[in-house]
Protein backbone atom coordinates (compact mmCIF):
# COMPACT_ATOMS: atom_id res chain seq x y z
CA UNK A 1 0.00 0.00 0.00
CA UNK A 2 2.79 2.34 0.96
CA UNK A 3 4.53 1.57 -2.29
CA UNK A 4 1.40 2.24 -4.24
CA UNK A 5 0.97 5.65 -2.67
CA UNK A 6 4.61 6.44 -3.35
CA UNK A 7 4.19 5.37 -6.95
CA UNK A 8 1.06 7.44 -7.32
CA UNK A 9 2.83 10.44 -5.87
CA UNK A 10 5.57 10.17 -8.42
CA UNK A 11 3.07 9.73 -11.19
CA UNK A 12 1.16 12.77 -9.98
CA UNK A 13 4.27 14.88 -10.28
CA UNK A 14 4.86 13.61 -13.77
CA UNK A 15 1.28 14.48 -14.68
CA UNK A 16 1.76 18.03 -13.42
CA UNK A 17 5.01 18.23 -15.37
CA UNK A 18 3.32 17.01 -18.53
CA UNK A 19 0.42 19.41 -18.07
CA UNK A 20 2.65 22.46 -17.62
CA UNK A 21 4.79 21.43 -20.60
CA UNK A 22 1.72 20.94 -22.75
CA UNK A 23 0.40 24.40 -21.91
CA UNK A 24 3.77 26.04 -22.57
CA UNK A 25 4.50 24.20 -25.81
CA UNK A 26 0.96 24.66 -27.06
CA UNK A 27 1.22 28.41 -26.53
CA UNK A 28 4.60 28.49 -28.26
CA UNK A 29 3.61 26.46 -31.31
CA UNK A 30 0.21 28.10 -31.75
CA UNK A 31 1.49 31.64 -31.51
CA UNK A 32 4.77 31.47 -33.36
CA UNK A 33 3.20 31.48 -36.81
CA UNK A 34 -0.13 33.14 -36.16
CA UNK A 35 -0.26 35.18 -32.96
CA UNK A 36 -3.57 34.85 -31.16
CA UNK A 37 -2.88 35.55 -27.52
CA UNK A 38 -1.63 39.09 -27.27
CA UNK A 39 -1.30 39.49 -23.53
CA UNK A 40 1.71 37.19 -23.27
CA UNK A 41 3.89 39.06 -25.74
CA UNK A 42 5.82 42.29 -25.58
CA UNK A 43 3.04 44.32 -27.19
CA UNK A 44 0.95 44.44 -24.02
CA UNK A 45 0.87 47.62 -21.99
CA UNK A 46 2.94 46.40 -19.04
CA UNK A 47 5.88 44.78 -20.77
CA UNK A 48 5.79 47.22 -23.67
CA UNK A 49 5.83 50.07 -21.16
CA UNK A 50 8.76 48.65 -19.21
CA UNK A 51 10.74 48.01 -22.39
CA UNK A 52 10.04 51.53 -23.61
CA UNK A 53 11.19 53.07 -20.32
CA UNK A 54 14.40 51.06 -20.38
CA UNK A 55 14.95 52.05 -24.00
CA UNK A 56 14.68 55.70 -23.03
CA UNK A 57 17.55 55.17 -20.62
CA UNK A 58 19.88 53.63 -23.19
CA UNK A 59 18.92 55.17 -26.48
CA UNK A 60 21.19 58.18 -26.13
CA UNK A 61 24.07 55.82 -26.88
CA UNK A 62 23.15 55.49 -30.53
CA UNK A 63 21.55 58.88 -31.03
CA UNK A 64 24.46 60.36 -33.05
CA UNK A 65 24.42 57.33 -35.35
CA UNK A 66 20.65 57.54 -35.76
CA UNK A 67 20.86 61.25 -36.49
CA UNK A 68 23.44 60.70 -39.15
CA UNK A 69 21.43 58.07 -40.98
CA UNK A 70 18.30 60.21 -40.84
CA UNK A 71 20.23 63.14 -42.24
CA UNK A 72 21.59 61.06 -45.09
CA UNK A 73 18.14 59.80 -45.84
CA UNK A 74 16.77 63.34 -45.85
CA UNK A 75 19.38 64.38 -48.34
CA UNK A 76 18.58 61.43 -50.59
CA UNK A 77 14.86 62.16 -50.45
CA UNK A 78 15.39 65.84 -51.15
CA UNK A 79 17.33 65.00 -54.28
CA UNK A 80 14.63 62.64 -55.36
CA UNK A 81 11.94 65.28 -54.82
CA UNK A 82 13.86 67.72 -56.94
CA UNK A 83 14.23 65.15 -59.66
CA UNK A 84 10.54 64.25 -59.60
CA UNK A 85 9.55 67.91 -59.46
CA UNK A 86 11.42 68.55 -62.65
CA UNK A 87 9.58 65.67 -64.27
CA UNK A 88 6.26 66.98 -63.01
CA UNK A 89 6.84 70.35 -64.56
CA UNK A 90 6.92 68.77 -67.96
CA UNK A 91 3.80 66.61 -67.48
CA UNK A 92 0.84 68.21 -65.69
CA UNK A 93 -0.62 65.68 -63.27
CA UNK A 94 -0.06 67.52 -60.02
CA UNK A 95 -3.59 67.22 -58.63
CA UNK A 96 -4.22 63.53 -59.05
CA UNK A 97 -0.87 62.40 -57.74
CA UNK A 98 -1.66 62.46 -54.02
CA UNK A 99 -4.90 60.55 -54.33
CA UNK A 100 -3.18 57.79 -56.23
CA UNK A 101 -0.59 57.00 -53.58
CA UNK A 102 -0.57 53.23 -53.03
CA UNK A 103 1.86 52.95 -50.14
CA UNK A 104 1.93 55.06 -47.00
CA UNK A 105 4.78 55.01 -44.54
CA UNK A 106 4.37 55.16 -40.77
CA UNK A 107 7.57 56.08 -38.91
CA UNK A 108 8.29 54.24 -35.66
CA UNK A 109 11.00 53.92 -33.06
CA UNK A 110 12.50 50.58 -32.06
CA UNK A 111 12.21 49.99 -28.32
CA UNK A 112 13.50 46.44 -28.15
CA UNK A 113 15.26 44.21 -30.61
CA UNK A 114 17.37 41.09 -30.72
CA UNK A 115 19.58 39.65 -33.42
CA UNK A 116 21.31 36.56 -32.11
CA UNK A 117 18.34 34.41 -31.12
CA UNK A 118 17.01 31.72 -33.41
CA UNK A 119 13.92 33.81 -34.11
CA UNK A 120 14.29 37.50 -33.63
CA UNK A 121 11.59 40.00 -32.88
CA UNK A 122 11.58 43.77 -32.75
CA UNK A 123 9.16 45.79 -30.64
CA UNK A 124 8.24 49.28 -31.83
CA UNK A 125 6.37 52.10 -30.16
CA UNK A 126 3.50 52.41 -32.65
CA UNK A 127 0.36 50.31 -32.68
CA UNK A 128 -3.14 49.98 -34.04
CA UNK A 129 -3.83 53.54 -32.90
CA UNK A 130 -1.40 54.72 -35.57
CA UNK A 131 -2.91 52.52 -38.26
CA UNK A 132 -0.58 49.53 -38.02
CA UNK A 133 -2.04 46.13 -38.81
CA UNK A 134 -0.68 42.61 -38.79
CA UNK A 135 1.13 41.57 -41.93
CA UNK A 136 2.47 44.98 -42.94
CA UNK A 137 6.05 45.24 -44.13
CA UNK A 138 8.75 47.16 -42.26
CA UNK A 139 11.92 48.72 -43.63
CA UNK A 140 14.57 51.33 -42.86
CA UNK A 141 16.26 53.79 -45.15
CA UNK A 142 18.75 51.05 -45.97
CA UNK A 143 16.82 47.83 -46.43
CA UNK A 144 13.86 45.74 -45.36
CA UNK A 145 13.56 44.66 -41.74
CA UNK A 146 10.60 42.30 -41.39
CA UNK A 147 6.86 41.90 -41.18
CA UNK A 148 4.46 43.03 -38.42
CA UNK A 149 3.62 39.97 -36.36
CA UNK A 150 1.24 41.25 -33.73
CA UNK A 151 -0.26 44.60 -32.79
CA UNK A 152 -1.75 46.17 -29.69
CA UNK A 153 -3.08 49.67 -29.20
CA UNK A 154 0.28 51.33 -28.55
CA UNK A 155 2.92 48.79 -29.54
CA UNK A 156 3.60 46.32 -32.26
CA UNK A 157 6.00 43.51 -32.78
CA UNK A 158 7.95 42.78 -35.92
CA UNK A 159 9.10 39.32 -36.93
CA UNK A 160 12.44 40.28 -38.39
CA UNK A 161 14.02 38.69 -41.45
CA UNK A 162 16.27 36.98 -38.91
CA UNK A 163 13.59 34.34 -38.26
CA UNK A 164 12.89 30.91 -39.61
CA UNK A 165 10.00 30.64 -42.07
CA UNK A 166 9.91 34.34 -42.80
CA UNK A 167 9.57 33.74 -46.59
CA UNK A 168 9.55 37.20 -48.10
CA UNK A 169 9.43 37.13 -51.89
CA UNK A 170 12.55 38.70 -53.30
CA UNK A 171 14.17 38.89 -56.72
CA UNK A 172 17.55 39.53 -58.23
CA UNK A 173 17.34 43.06 -59.52
CA UNK A 174 18.95 42.80 -62.92
CA UNK A 175 17.22 39.72 -64.32
CA UNK A 176 14.13 39.33 -62.18
CA UNK A 177 14.80 35.75 -61.02
CA UNK A 178 12.74 35.37 -57.86
CA UNK A 179 12.71 33.20 -54.77
CA UNK A 180 11.90 33.26 -51.07
CA UNK A 181 14.09 34.81 -48.41
CA UNK A 182 14.97 32.53 -45.52
CA UNK A 183 17.31 32.53 -42.52
CA UNK A 184 19.33 29.64 -41.15
CA UNK A 185 19.95 31.16 -37.73
CA UNK A 186 23.72 31.39 -37.91
CA UNK A 187 24.79 34.94 -38.68
CA UNK A 188 22.76 38.15 -38.41
CA UNK A 189 24.50 39.34 -41.56
CA UNK A 190 23.60 36.54 -43.94
CA UNK A 191 20.36 35.01 -45.18
CA UNK A 192 19.54 32.74 -48.08
CA UNK A 193 17.18 32.61 -51.05
CA UNK A 194 15.32 29.42 -51.83
CA UNK A 195 13.87 28.36 -55.13
CA UNK A 196 15.89 29.98 -57.93
CA UNK A 197 16.55 27.51 -60.72
CA UNK A 198 20.23 27.14 -61.53
CA UNK A 199 19.85 27.51 -65.27
CA UNK A 200 19.38 31.23 -64.67
CA UNK A 201 22.80 32.88 -64.87
CA UNK A 202 23.67 34.73 -61.67
CA UNK A 203 26.78 36.43 -60.42
CA UNK A 204 28.16 37.40 -57.06
CA UNK A 205 27.38 40.85 -55.67
CA UNK A 206 24.18 41.29 -57.65
CA UNK A 207 21.59 43.33 -55.80
CA UNK A 208 18.60 41.56 -54.28
CA UNK A 209 15.37 43.56 -53.91
CA UNK A 210 11.78 42.84 -52.89
CA UNK A 211 9.54 41.50 -55.61
CA UNK A 212 6.38 43.19 -54.41
CA UNK A 213 4.03 40.44 -55.52
CA UNK A 214 2.23 39.97 -52.23
CA UNK A 215 1.39 43.62 -51.62
CA UNK A 216 3.34 43.67 -48.36
CA UNK A 217 6.40 45.42 -49.72
CA UNK A 218 6.48 47.72 -52.74
CA UNK A 219 8.63 46.45 -55.55
CA UNK A 220 12.31 47.24 -55.48
CA UNK A 221 13.11 47.77 -51.81
CA UNK A 222 16.69 46.84 -51.14
CA UNK A 223 17.40 43.59 -49.27
CA UNK A 224 21.08 42.87 -49.76
CA UNK A 225 23.68 41.48 -52.11
CA UNK A 226 24.45 37.94 -53.23
CA UNK A 227 27.59 36.98 -51.33
CA UNK A 228 27.90 33.30 -52.15
CA UNK A 229 26.66 31.12 -55.00
CA UNK A 230 26.71 27.34 -55.06
CA UNK A 231 24.80 24.54 -56.75
CA UNK A 232 22.31 22.91 -54.44
CA UNK A 233 23.04 19.23 -53.82
CA UNK A 234 20.98 16.96 -56.07
CA UNK A 235 18.51 19.70 -57.01
CA UNK A 236 18.44 21.97 -60.04
CA UNK A 237 18.55 25.01 -57.78
CA UNK A 238 20.99 27.68 -56.71
CA UNK A 239 22.14 27.79 -53.12
CA UNK A 240 22.32 31.55 -52.66
CA UNK A 241 23.60 33.43 -49.66
CA UNK A 242 22.51 37.04 -49.24
CA UNK A 243 24.52 39.61 -47.37
CA UNK A 244 21.92 41.76 -45.63
CA UNK A 245 22.25 45.46 -46.14
CA UNK A 246 20.58 46.25 -42.83
CA UNK A 247 22.70 46.17 -39.69
CA UNK A 248 20.34 44.58 -37.16
CA UNK A 249 22.63 45.40 -34.27
CA UNK A 250 21.90 49.09 -34.64
CA UNK A 251 18.25 49.46 -35.48
CA UNK A 252 16.69 52.64 -34.21
CA UNK A 253 14.16 54.11 -36.63
CA UNK A 254 11.97 52.08 -38.98
CA UNK A 255 9.06 52.68 -41.34
CA UNK A 256 5.95 50.54 -41.49
CA UNK A 257 4.42 50.18 -44.94
CA UNK A 258 0.70 50.63 -45.25
CA UNK A 259 -0.71 49.43 -48.55
CA UNK A 260 -3.84 51.41 -49.34
CA UNK A 261 -4.85 48.96 -52.02
CA UNK A 262 -4.38 45.89 -49.89
CA UNK A 263 -8.08 44.99 -49.74
CA UNK A 264 -8.45 45.34 -53.46
CA UNK A 265 -5.34 43.27 -53.93
CA UNK A 266 -6.57 40.49 -51.66
CA UNK A 267 -9.97 40.41 -53.32
CA UNK A 268 -8.35 40.02 -56.69
CA UNK A 269 -6.07 37.33 -55.37
CA UNK A 270 -9.00 35.42 -53.90
CA UNK A 271 -11.02 35.59 -57.08
CA UNK A 272 -8.06 34.22 -59.02
CA UNK A 273 -7.71 31.35 -56.59
CA UNK A 274 -11.42 30.55 -56.84
CA UNK A 275 -11.21 30.45 -60.59
CA UNK A 276 -8.33 28.05 -60.43
CA UNK A 277 -10.21 25.74 -58.09
CA UNK A 278 -13.29 25.94 -60.27
CA UNK A 279 -11.37 24.68 -63.26
Amino acid sequence: MKNLIAFFKKFQLFLLFALLELVAIYLYVENYNYPQVKFISSVNTISGGILEKSNELTKFINTPQANRTLQQENEKLRQEIEHLQSLLDTIHFKDTLIAEQTYQYIPAEVIYSTFSKRNNFITINRGSKDGIEEGMGVFTDRAIVGIIHSVSENYSMIKSVLSSKIYIDVKVENNGAYGLLNWDGISPKRGSIDGISNDIPLKKWLRVVTRGSSGVFPEGLYVGKISQLKYENAKPLWNIQVWYEEDFRRLSNVYVIKNNHKKEFLRLDQSINKEEIGR
Binding site: Q12, L13, L16, F17, L20, E21, V23, A24, I25, Y26, L27, Y28, E30, N31, Y32, P35, V37, I40, S41, S42, N44, I46, S47, I50, L51, S54, Y112, T114, F115, S116, K117, R118, N119, F121, T123, H149, M157, S164, D184, G185, I186, S187, P188, R249
Partner: protein, 171 residues
Protein backbone atom coordinates in the same frame (compact mmCIF):
# COMPACT_ATOMS: atom_id res chain seq x y z
CA UNK B 1 6.50 35.67 5.64
CA UNK B 2 9.62 37.79 5.27
CA UNK B 3 11.31 34.90 3.54
CA UNK B 4 8.35 34.61 1.20
CA UNK B 5 8.54 38.30 0.27
CA UNK B 6 12.24 37.91 -0.22
CA UNK B 7 11.72 35.14 -2.75
CA UNK B 8 9.13 37.17 -4.62
CA UNK B 9 11.48 40.16 -4.78
CA UNK B 10 14.24 37.81 -5.94
CA UNK B 11 12.05 36.41 -8.68
CA UNK B 12 11.13 39.90 -9.91
CA UNK B 13 14.76 40.96 -9.89
CA UNK B 14 15.96 37.92 -11.77
CA UNK B 15 13.24 38.25 -14.44
CA UNK B 16 13.93 41.95 -14.94
CA UNK B 17 17.69 41.51 -15.03
CA UNK B 18 17.29 38.72 -17.57
CA UNK B 19 15.00 40.79 -19.77
CA UNK B 20 16.61 44.20 -19.48
CA UNK B 21 20.27 43.33 -19.07
CA UNK B 22 21.26 39.84 -20.13
CA UNK B 23 18.99 39.66 -23.15
CA UNK B 24 20.62 42.78 -24.52
CA UNK B 25 24.09 41.29 -24.32
CA UNK B 26 24.47 39.76 -27.72
CA UNK B 27 27.90 38.33 -28.32
CA UNK B 28 27.10 36.60 -31.60
CA UNK B 29 27.87 32.97 -32.50
CA UNK B 30 24.40 32.19 -31.19
CA UNK B 31 25.36 32.78 -27.58
CA UNK B 32 22.33 33.49 -25.45
CA UNK B 33 22.94 34.19 -21.77
CA UNK B 34 20.14 32.88 -19.57
CA UNK B 35 20.76 33.20 -15.87
CA UNK B 36 17.26 32.73 -14.50
CA UNK B 37 17.56 28.95 -13.83
CA UNK B 38 19.72 30.09 -10.91
CA UNK B 39 16.54 31.05 -9.07
CA UNK B 40 15.33 27.46 -8.88
CA UNK B 41 18.54 26.41 -7.17
CA UNK B 42 18.11 29.05 -4.52
CA UNK B 43 14.66 27.78 -3.54
CA UNK B 44 14.77 25.62 -0.40
CA UNK B 45 15.48 21.94 -0.84
CA UNK B 46 12.45 21.05 1.24
CA UNK B 47 10.11 22.65 -1.21
CA UNK B 48 7.77 20.21 -2.87
CA UNK B 49 8.55 19.49 -6.52
CA UNK B 50 5.03 20.48 -7.56
CA UNK B 51 5.54 23.91 -6.03
CA UNK B 52 8.91 24.25 -7.72
CA UNK B 53 7.43 23.36 -11.09
CA UNK B 54 4.59 25.87 -10.73
CA UNK B 55 7.05 28.59 -9.73
CA UNK B 56 9.21 27.62 -12.72
CA UNK B 57 6.21 27.89 -15.01
CA UNK B 58 5.29 31.33 -13.69
CA UNK B 59 8.83 32.68 -13.97
CA UNK B 60 9.23 31.24 -17.45
CA UNK B 61 5.94 32.73 -18.57
CA UNK B 62 6.84 36.14 -17.19
CA UNK B 63 10.05 36.07 -19.22
CA UNK B 64 8.11 35.00 -22.31
CA UNK B 65 5.81 37.91 -21.60
CA UNK B 66 8.63 40.28 -22.55
CA UNK B 67 10.48 38.37 -25.21
CA UNK B 68 7.78 37.17 -27.59
CA UNK B 69 8.63 33.54 -27.14
CA UNK B 70 5.15 32.46 -25.99
CA UNK B 71 5.97 29.67 -23.56
CA UNK B 72 9.41 28.59 -24.78
CA UNK B 73 11.26 29.78 -21.68
CA UNK B 74 8.48 28.37 -19.49
CA UNK B 75 8.75 24.91 -21.02
CA UNK B 76 12.54 24.83 -20.61
CA UNK B 77 12.36 26.00 -17.02
CA UNK B 78 9.62 23.51 -16.07
CA UNK B 79 11.72 20.75 -17.61
CA UNK B 80 14.76 21.71 -15.58
CA UNK B 81 12.59 22.07 -12.45
CA UNK B 82 11.36 18.52 -12.98
CA UNK B 83 14.94 17.31 -13.15
CA UNK B 84 16.07 19.34 -10.14
CA UNK B 85 15.97 16.42 -7.68
CA UNK B 86 17.82 14.20 -10.17
CA UNK B 87 20.55 16.79 -10.59
CA UNK B 88 21.01 16.90 -6.82
CA UNK B 89 21.03 13.11 -6.69
CA UNK B 90 23.71 12.82 -9.36
CA UNK B 91 25.96 15.33 -7.67
CA UNK B 92 25.60 13.99 -4.13
CA UNK B 93 23.71 10.70 -3.99
CA UNK B 94 24.20 10.12 -0.26
CA UNK B 95 22.79 13.36 1.04
CA UNK B 96 19.36 13.62 2.53
CA UNK B 97 17.75 16.48 0.69
CA UNK B 98 14.47 16.33 2.56
CA UNK B 99 15.78 18.30 5.51
CA UNK B 100 17.82 21.41 5.99
CA UNK B 101 18.25 24.71 4.24
CA UNK B 102 20.31 25.42 1.12
CA UNK B 103 23.00 27.02 3.17
CA UNK B 104 24.06 23.64 4.52
CA UNK B 105 24.23 21.96 1.18
CA UNK B 106 25.94 24.69 -0.77
CA UNK B 107 28.63 24.85 1.89
CA UNK B 108 31.32 24.81 -0.73
CA UNK B 109 30.88 27.06 -3.72
CA UNK B 110 32.81 24.67 -5.95
CA UNK B 111 30.10 22.08 -5.48
CA UNK B 112 27.48 24.69 -6.24
CA UNK B 113 29.31 25.47 -9.46
CA UNK B 114 29.02 21.86 -10.62
CA UNK B 115 25.33 21.72 -9.73
CA UNK B 116 24.75 25.01 -11.53
CA UNK B 117 26.62 23.84 -14.63
CA UNK B 118 24.60 20.65 -14.88
CA UNK B 119 21.33 22.43 -14.18
CA UNK B 120 21.92 25.12 -16.79
CA UNK B 121 23.04 22.51 -19.30
CA UNK B 122 19.73 20.65 -18.82
CA UNK B 123 17.81 23.89 -19.27
CA UNK B 124 19.75 24.99 -22.35
CA UNK B 125 19.50 21.57 -24.00
CA UNK B 126 15.72 21.70 -23.86
CA UNK B 127 15.54 25.37 -24.76
CA UNK B 128 17.70 25.35 -27.87
CA UNK B 129 16.44 22.03 -29.19
CA UNK B 130 12.86 23.22 -28.84
CA UNK B 131 13.71 26.55 -30.36
CA UNK B 132 15.36 25.28 -33.52
CA UNK B 133 13.37 22.00 -33.81
CA UNK B 134 15.24 21.14 -36.96
CA UNK B 135 17.60 18.23 -37.52
CA UNK B 136 19.38 20.09 -40.30
CA UNK B 137 20.60 22.69 -37.82
CA UNK B 138 21.64 20.17 -35.20
CA UNK B 139 25.37 20.90 -35.38
CA UNK B 140 24.90 24.62 -34.97
CA UNK B 141 22.34 24.05 -32.23
CA UNK B 142 24.84 22.01 -30.24
CA UNK B 143 27.47 24.68 -30.69
CA UNK B 144 24.91 27.14 -29.40
CA UNK B 145 24.11 24.96 -26.39
CA UNK B 146 27.78 24.50 -25.51
CA UNK B 147 28.81 28.15 -25.78
CA UNK B 148 25.67 29.48 -24.09
CA UNK B 149 25.94 27.01 -21.23
CA UNK B 150 29.49 28.09 -20.49
CA UNK B 151 28.61 31.79 -20.67
CA UNK B 152 25.40 31.48 -18.61
CA UNK B 153 27.02 29.32 -15.95
CA UNK B 154 29.90 31.68 -15.37
CA UNK B 155 27.69 34.74 -15.16
CA UNK B 156 25.14 33.02 -12.93
CA UNK B 157 27.95 31.80 -10.69
CA UNK B 158 29.32 35.32 -10.35
CA UNK B 159 25.87 36.58 -9.44
CA UNK B 160 25.68 33.83 -6.84
CA UNK B 161 29.06 34.78 -5.39
CA UNK B 162 28.33 38.50 -5.40
CA UNK B 163 24.81 38.64 -4.03
CA UNK B 164 23.64 35.34 -2.70
CA UNK B 165 26.58 33.84 -0.88
CA UNK B 166 27.10 37.02 1.11
CA UNK B 167 23.60 37.19 2.56
CA UNK B 168 23.94 33.60 3.58
CA UNK B 169 27.08 34.09 5.62
CA UNK B 170 25.50 37.06 7.35
CA UNK B 171 22.65 34.96 8.59
Amino acid sequence: MINFLRYIAGACLIVLSQVLVFNRIEIGYGVYIMIYPLFLLILPFRMHLAQVMIIAFLIGMSIDFFLNTYGLHASALVFSAYLRPFVFKIIAPNEDYSRGDNSDKYASSSRFFVILLLFILVHHLWFFLMESFNLGELLFTFMRIGLSTVASTFIAFFIFLLFLLKTRTER
